[in-house]
């Protein structure tokens, strides 16, 4: 069964460093998303991406964040200068259409900022 994959599974970085989180969505999917979950808190929407541009972004997704689909298979989330409060699980999701129930989530990348 096709699945969304994410690398690395765990990333440790120092405050102020740049990180890139990588995702490989399901191959025939066209819509891509990033969510994050701070430990003990709810899953929060960050951004949606379609046709090489951002469709929607949340207030959390400020200028420190960017997304890119550098080739036909990868979808990345970059945090330019990490802060302690960026420590969280980051989940990538993809869907074939813009139907809410069709988003398939990856296993997540745990980002720890020290």
């Amino acid at each position: 069964e096709p699945e969304v994959t994410q690398t690395p599974s765990h990333q440790v970085t120092q405050m102020g460093q740049e990180v890139i989180l990588r995702c490989v969505p399901i191959s025939n999917h066209l819509y891509f998303y990033w969510y994050r979950q701070i430990l003990g808190q709810k899953v929060e929407f960050l951004v949606s991406f379609y046709n090489n541009e951002i469709s929607e972004k949340s207030e959390i997704f400020d200028d420190q964040f960017s997304v890119e689909r550098p080739d036909g298979s990868n979808f990345t989330l970059k945090i330019r200068s990490t802060k302690l409060e960026d420590s969280a699980m980051y989940f990538c999701a993809s869907s074939e259409s813009r139907s809410a129930y069709e988003q398939y989530f990856g296993p997540g990348t745990r980002l720890t900022v020290t």
């Binding site: 969304v4 819509y31 998303y33 969510y35 808190q41 709810k42 899953v43 929060e44 929407f45 949606s48 469709s55 929607e56 949340s58 699980m89 989940f91 999701a93 259409s97 813009r98 139907s99 809410a100 129930y101 988003q103 398939y104 989530f105 990856g106 296993p107 997540g108 745990r110």
Partner: protein, 115 residues
Amino acid sequence: QKEVEQDPGPLSVPEGAIVSLNCTYSNSAFQYFMWYRQYSRKGPELLMYTYSSGNKEDGRFTAQVDKSSKYISLFIRDSQPSDSATYLCAMSARDAGGGYNKLIFGAGTRLAVHP
């Protein structure tokens, strides 16, 4: 008022019990209602979804939506230890482009089913 509220639990039940999980919401524009299951340090996995009001059944799971009360429920019959996980409700409203991009999640309810 939070957009989606969900009692975080934990909820502990004996094997075989009927489990009732609930969420309330404030945004009347929500039209899709989903239930996800999440194991520790894993991604959410879709269990069921409902569009607008009504009930939906899938095996031991039943999802109910009452839009007039802004209240959704997930019932698990004959609960098993393997059902032990965190259950997240999620909702979506139509966006300006006509799709349902953004999921708004509840905090999740931790469920433990003991043998």
